[in-house]
Symmetry: C2
DNA sequence: TTGTATGCGTTATCAC
DNA sequence: GTGATAACGCATACAA
């Protein structure tokens, strides 16, 4: 009994309920958990006593004896970002459907390795039954040691390691999809702000797919290295140095927004002079006001499929697909248009 | 021992560690928890044994005997919204600082009362030590029964009930602040999209403060009822029916965006013909591209102060202020400008 | 159908 | 400094 307990009322236990109902605690346990058989009359008496006392099952004690917590831990790098906010919500909801809870741990926002370790250790202390990793940056080597001890699913990013299950939106398909759209609008000379594979497991393949598809279908491609999002000004000037270019494809919505700002500063009309595409299509960016064209990932589906996979792993089943690549959809906005039509405009 | 345990390796316990280190479990407990005195030599032996076994404290068993979970429950209506996403992150971080964890429960997104009850009951089962309520909609009557059993802090919205502590951004000050800005730009006939007090504890006082301040300083005010965000078209036509109006104040960024879209559809230049203000100033809406003018709430501060208040309550101290109204800041964008300057433009 | 006894992993209180 | 032992609240195998 620690200092802080002083004065706080103790929660009623099954013993209190049993006492009040005039039965043994076993009977109460059976009534509450619904297992075993109890006489209907006593059942009602117990239920009434529990209600009168305001009894609520103690999940801690229950977990203690059941050796189960019905809890999965979600490690998420930055929960403040709209994508992960949505993802977390979707996962919570689906987990509740399966009778599980989700506790989240973040790397404290900082990028120190010790933070990550502490976060994962916290999850382990809590005896979460499985791990969900939501982070575009955390390399798979970091995850492996934990995946060895706990069923682990990576959500929202491709993961090729055979020991880890993953659910994500197919980046190659998405990048190619946006590229197709740009091509179909009639663009033939296109800039792609490219992210190296090493710096992001999502944006790397995504932009590579964009450039690849464009080239494959005969377009001229200018690749602009865009590892850092702050240098949108540089991208803009680089693009404008090539008058033949009529469209720019960005690796993400955020990159696209930064680019759009820079283009506006330079007096470039979008999509009049230049078409711009993003990637994610989340939040307010796809409202008619901005109308960013891009690829939308099925976040809710990613969340629910991730949790489904976790539950299957927990049940000892093999999930249907070890690596699920979910299809996204093209969101047609107003930042990308046909180059010829715009010149007339 | 349930079915799902089959085949999963059991986590090592202090007894396993004790066995391996050749001591009693009491010694291990002292070493791990850092309480009590242990010989340095044995301490090292225990530590090594624990490391070799990959021992991690079982927070469940610890909570069982300590009668403490070091966990606070956050009930949040819609975690997918940027505001609450940020708030949650801020709270998690501050809680970790104090040695607490935050488990969140959502009303499943649906608006059923039973969902809310279930969410709060789940938190109770988990034996959270305190409650943080983050919901602009949940009326205080709903919270009171829980506040009676658990230290409760309401975050992100004003709360006047004496039994409940609250931390929020001063709505009256914010609404008046934006109004002042609009007045200082030179507007004298202004529309305010007003939300009734009964439908939102945040937007109600906020818009009332806007209208109040405008009138107090001699401006003509047109109040447009805006309970539903979908009717932005109606607001636009209503505003345009009054040619003298040069500015519109919306109750939130989202409302403002909807309005901006409608104005664009009608060919109204912003801020050329009409200035528009929002409220929240979060996410991508304040980037130069959109440049929404509005009031920014100090979300991180709200989050940390909320957790601080929780911890103080837990420590049996009275938080410094029962109701903390934190100051926000004006974010000057490009959607509101001086009416005369724009006519010249 | 109901009650009794045991154990889950940890901390705390004692003796030693 | 160290080691038994008794809780904590619940589920469950078993006895009645």
């Amino acid at each position: 009994m620690t200092d802080r307990d002083r004065g706080r009322p103790r929660n009623p236990t099954i013993i209190d309920v049993a006492h009040r109902a005039g039965v043994s605690k076993s009977v109460v346990s059976r009534v509450i958990s619904g297992r075993g058989s109890v006489g209907e009359e006593t059942r009602q008496r117990v239920l009434r006593a529990a209600a009168e006392l305001g009894y609520v099952v103690n999940a801690v004690a229950r977990a203690m004896v059941a050796h189960r917590t019905y809890t999965v831990g979600a490690f998420v790098r930055d929960a403040a970002t709209p994508f992960y906010g949505h993802l977390l919500t979707a996962m919570q909801e689906r987990a509740a459907f399966h009778g599980y809870r989700v506790v989240t741990a973040t790397g404290s926002g900082r990028f120190e390795v010790s933070d990550e370790y502490r976060a994962l250790e916290t999850l382990a202390m809590l005896r979460v039954e499985a791990l969900i990793v939501c982070s575009g940056m955390l390399p798979s080597e970091q995850i492996l040691p934990f995946a060895a001890r706990l069923p682990t699913v990576v959500a929202g990013r491709p993961e090729t390691h055979p020991n880890i299950t993953s659910v994500y939106c197919d980046e190659a398909e998405g990048g190619a999809g946006v590229a197709d759209h740009v091509l179909e609008l009639g663009h033939r000379e296109i800039a792609v702000v490219t992210v190296p594979m090493s710096s992001s497991v999502t944006m790397g393949p995504r932009t590579a797919a964009m450039a690849g598809r464009l080239r494959k279908r005969g377009a001229r491609v200018l690749e602009i290295p865009g590892a850092r999002g702050e240098s949108a000004g540089a991208w803009a000037t680089e693009v404008l140095r090539h008058p033949g270019i009529t469209a720019v494809m960005a690796p993400s919505d955020r990159h696209a927004i930064a680019l759009l700002e820079q283009l506006r500063l330079r007096g470039v009309a979008v999509p009049g002079q230049l078409s711009v595409t993003g990637y994610d299509a989340i939040g307010d960016l796809t409202t008619p006001l901005i109308g960013l064209t891009g690829w939308r990932q099925p976040i809710d589906l990613i969340g629910s499929r991730t949790v489904d996979a976790v539950v299957q792993l927990l049940d000892g089943e093999q999930p249907p697909d070890h690596h699920q690549a979910l299809p996204g959809t093209l969101v047609v906005g107003t930042t990308a248009a046909s180059p010829t039509a715009d010149d007339i405009d």
